[in-house]
């Protein structure tokens, strides 16, 4: 019998120091006071709204929604258990993992928010800057620190950016929200090029490690792929460079039109060359002042929190035999790890018929147990609304799979057509025009047969219930955008998007489809791919080769008949 890992005191992740704890504690009490003043009428809703948004509290279609920050998607088992407790105690027993690696509670009472924030602070969590016109939660590659592909673990930089951008006095009231992502591998799992700003760890021609900085990407009403601002920024200069980008954005962006306030609009209005020139001017000034140099010792201090765990040596480095279901799961949900004998395991929260990203309190508790027993107490949230166990022994995979089967979270579909991103849509969201989740469920049911999913191969479907694109529809190989057509839900198809290293913006097919027709239209589109693909071609490759016309013709075939 395999001895399980001893339950770790704490996984290899950042832990609050005295300053962090005091800062979060003071912020909780400050907001608790603001809630009390609002309830007593000392603050109007107009005065209170920006304060609650800066603390992650929205008023949605049915109730308040609280968005909890999960910095770069990393959670400990202790934090997962706390989220389960909050779901059970203050919500309706479940939470929802989002496309920004956060977790949302959908049924929160305003009067309970101070207590919830205190509970979160107990496990070094908060909701600060998960909404509002500020730098939002920093996201990262969910395989960070585990994948053999990376140049170095991007999480220390992500943590440094988090600290630098938390309540940064210059950037608390930006024109609009500002999203930053960090990656460190040629294979982009963090949708870097669709962020306001992104940092990729790179190595230059001399072999030195530094950072490539991109800016101006985004989805929403006006999607853009990010422009490279600078191919290589030295380690010690990175905060000065990021500050320079944000300063130019803060100073030069339009504040007169909500649709033109993101950095992507500024960069594409003045041109990337001019943006680079303005950023460089600020950067040189910041460098001259020298106040934002990142000392090597500070980088080392933060990096130490993320030191690789003491991986066991001499473990068997082959995947165990445990039956066909297990083999199917490992085929899509298990990825290579940097340490021999270890693997990265993806838990897709996309069992056929499930709400993508939803997780009950009971499931969270069991996942925490699995984390402690098999994954050094750590889990990662992905922007594709899945979870990842970053460090598991290959020999433990059958036991993990068995426990996930009991949880109904053992779907062998990571990266396949049923691993669908869907925003909360009109079922929950005050901004949505149409439902997203039922469309995802209908498509997943249509393609439930696993052999068929494998035959189709990698195909990323992403669904948004409005133009704000929380469901990343612009970046879907097949994207779906819900619109309101005279009070009735209607769905546009987009083809050819990608959020990976080959980033592209999906092309709108044309007129949309009704609620009951959209899944069939997707099936006809997939049929064109299967009929026309060449060996080794993914859906995206075939689309890029043959273009929209044959897909469009097939998609509307039924309507024409």
């Amino acid at each position: 019998m395999n001895a399980p890992f001893p339950a770790p005191v704490a996984p290899n992740m950042y832990r609050y120091d005295e300053f962090d704890a005091r800062f979060v504690g003071e912020r909780v009490e400050q907001f608790a006071g603001q809630v009390a003043r609002r309830l007593k009428g000392e603050l109007t809703e107009d005065q209170f709204k920006p304060l609650r948004l800066m603390n992650g509290l929205y008023l949605q279609l049915h109730a308040y929604m609280l968005r909890v920050a999960v910095p770069y998607g990393t959670l400990s088992s202790r934090q997962i258990r706390k989220l389960a407790h909050i779901a059970r105690t203050y919500d309706k027993g479940f939470g929802h993992f989002t496309t920004r690696q956060n977790l949302q509670f959908n049924w929160i009472k305003l009067v309970d928010v101070p207590a919830i924030l205190r509970e979160l602070a107990d496990v070094e969590m908060h909701c600060i800057q998960t909404s509002g016109n500020c730098v939002r939660n920093v996201t990262a590659d969910q395989f960070a620190g585990a994948t053999p592909e990376e140049i170095e673990d991007p999480r220390p930089l992500a943590e440094i950016i988090r600290q630098w951008s938390s309540l940064h006095p210059e950037f608390v009231f930006l024109a609009r929200k500002f999203k930053i992502a960090v990656g460190a591998t040629p294979h982009d799992r963090a949708a870097l090029q669709f962020h306001d700003m992104a940092v990729e760890v790179v190595r230059n021609a001399e072999g030195r490690v530094g950072y490539k900085v991109m800016a101006g990407g985004g989805m929403g009403r006006t999607p853009y792929i990010a422009h490279v601002m600078r191919e290589f920024v030295e380690r010690e200069d990175i905060l000065a460079y990021l500050e320079a980008v944000l300063r130019v954005y803060n100073q030069d962006s339009r504040r007169d039109n909500i649709h033109k306030q993101r950095i992507k609009i500024l960069i594409n209005a003045i041109g990337p060359e001019e943006m680079r020139r303005r950023v460089d001017r600020e950067f040189q000034e910041l460098k001259r002042m020298g106040t934002l140099q990142l000392p090597r010792e500070e980088l080392d201090r933060i990096t130490a929190y993320f030191a690789p765990p003491a991986f066991e040596t001499g473990l068997p480095d082959t995947l165990p035999e445990a039956g066909p279901d297990f083999a199917n799961w490992t085929r899509t949900n298990v990825h290579p790890h940097r340490a021999p004998g270890y693997a990265i395991a993806t838990i897709t929260l996309k069992t056929i018929g499930q709400v993508p990203g939803d997780c009950s309190a009971e499931q969270l508790d069991v996942i925490a147990d699995i984390m402690d027993e098999f994954s050094l107490g750590e889990v990662r949230v992905t922007h594709e609304q899945n979870l990842v166990l970053p460090h598991v022994r290959k020999k433990d995979l059958p036991a993990i799979f068995a426990k996930l089967q009991e949880l109904d979270f053992a779907a062998p579909n990571a990266g396949l057509i049923t691993d669908i991103i869907a925003c909360p849509g009109l079922d929950y969201c005050d901004l949505a025009n149409a439902r997203s989740i039922p469309v995802a469920q209908a498509i997943a049911r249509k393609f439930a047969d696993l052999d068929r999913q494998h035959e189709i191969g990698e195909l990323k479907i992403k669904i948004s219930g409005c133009i704000n694109a929380c469901g990343h529809h612009h970046a879907g190989h097949i994207g779906i955008l819900g619109v309101d057509k005279k009070g009735v839900e209607f769905y546009q198809l987009l083809l050819g998007g990608s959020g990976a290293e080959d980033a592209s913006i999906g092309e709108i097919m044309g007129p949309g489809f009704g609620e009951h027709d959209i899944a069939d239209a997707v099936e006809r589109v997939v049929g064109v791919y299967l009929a026309q693909r060449r060996p080794e071609e993914r859906f995206l490759d075939t689309y890029r080769r043959i273009g929209m016309a044959p897909f469009k013709q097939a998609a509307f075939q039924k309507e024409a008949a």
Partner: protein, 100 residues
């Protein structure tokens, strides 16, 4: 010929966010119990009254929406309001539908 369109008034309760509907001078939890406004002046008057009461800190974000009365039942015109009145279509165990 489609049924005539009426107006109803909704808001969220401040302390817990619950969806409320206007009835008389107060608020009720279900759409079926709420007042129908047959014409724009009546609807606008109800909204103005609700906005004037915001300082009482009972509700937030009041607004009017369209409904039709068909076969004796009131049904919102837009899907958004149908879902708001019932709860998420993907979680029938939550929202007002759970206790209906």
């Amino acid at each position: 010929m489609s049924a005539p369109v009426f107006k109803m008034l909704t808001a969220n309760r401040l302390r817990d966010g619950d969806v409320l509907y206007r009835k008389g001078g107060g608020w009720v939890l279900t759409l079926a119990e709420a007042d129908l406004y047959a014409d724009a002046p009546a609807a606008e008057a109800a909204l103005a009254q609700a906005e004037a009461e915001l300082a009482q800190n009972i509700v937030v974000a009041p607004y009017l929406f369209d409904v039709r009365q068909e076969d004796g039942a009131v049904r919102p015109v837009k899907e958004r309001e149908i879902i708001r009145a019932a709860g998420p279509t993907v979680r029938p165990d939550t929202g007002k539908q759970a206790t209906a």
